[in-house]
């Protein structure tokens, strides 16, 4: 069974630039999560989708971050414009539904200069 795929794996940008991350969850998983992991901290949920609807985006900085999950499969997370404090690993996870084991992708390491 293929795992959660993410791209790119690494990205370096300058502050005020835009960046987008892509996630392909495990086939059949209805729930998709985007987490932000800052160095030395645990992952923090940014947004959760159930199929193509948003369940929780309470910690998403909506003035600069946006996410979508078209057709309830792949998802993209965008940052526009980026700030220095956005430097982190962005993890995508999927699960069959709520409160099931979450399977994580390898993450995208973002460096904002």
């Amino acid at each position: 069974e293929a795992g959660v795929a993410q791209s790119p794996r690494y990205k370096i940008i300058e502050k005020r630039q835009s960046v987008a991350f892509w996630c392909n969850p495990i086939s059949g998983h209805a729930t998709l999560y985007w987490y932000q992991q800052i160095l030395g901290q645990g992952p923090k949920l940014l947004i959760q989708f159930q199929n193509n609807g948003v369940v929780d985006d309470s910690q998403l900085p909506k003035d600069r971050f946006s996410a979508e999950r078209l057709k309830g499969v792949d998802s993209t997370l965008k940052i526009q414009p980026a700030k220095l404090e956005d430097s982190a690993v962005y993890l995508c996870a999927s699960s069959p539904s709520y409160r099931n084991e979450q399977f994580f992708g390898p993450g995208t390491r973002l460096t904002v200069l």
Partner: protein
């Protein structure tokens, strides 16, 4: 507000000995706890979990203990192996039913041969 805390950033043990990783939480509404293991450049992978109705769950070399009155859980690895060297995250399902995971900061375990 750090609802899940891992106060030891790192732990070093000798191969064959016991590793004990600790985790504290503040929200008494948490009803399910999970441990994830993370290798460098990979996403976290699920290790073991425990429901709040239990005080112990065992899976091979891994045992998780839960002390609800103290709001404390611990992960025991016996015997420890060099391949266990990784970052370990304690996590709890939030008090809502959305499946949102609240992570601790992580503990880096090094098992020396």
């Amino acid at each position: 507000d750090q609802q899940v805390k891992q106060n030891s950033p790192s732990l070093s043990v000798q191969e064959g000995r016991i590793s004990i990783l600790n985790c504290d939480y503040t929200n008494s509404m948490f009803d399910y706890f999970l441990w994830y293991k993370k290798y460098p450049a990979e996403g976290p992978t699920f290790l073991i979990s425990i429901s709040s109705i239990k005080d112990k769950n065992e899976d091979g070399r891994f045992t998780v203990f839960l002390n609800k009155s103290a709001k404390h859980l611990s992960l025991h690895i016996v015997p420890s192996q060099p391949g266990d060297s990784a970052v370990y995250f304690c996590a709890a399902w939030g008090s809502s039913n959305t499946g949102k995971l609240i992570f601790g900061q992580g503990t880096t375990l090094q098992v020396k041969p």
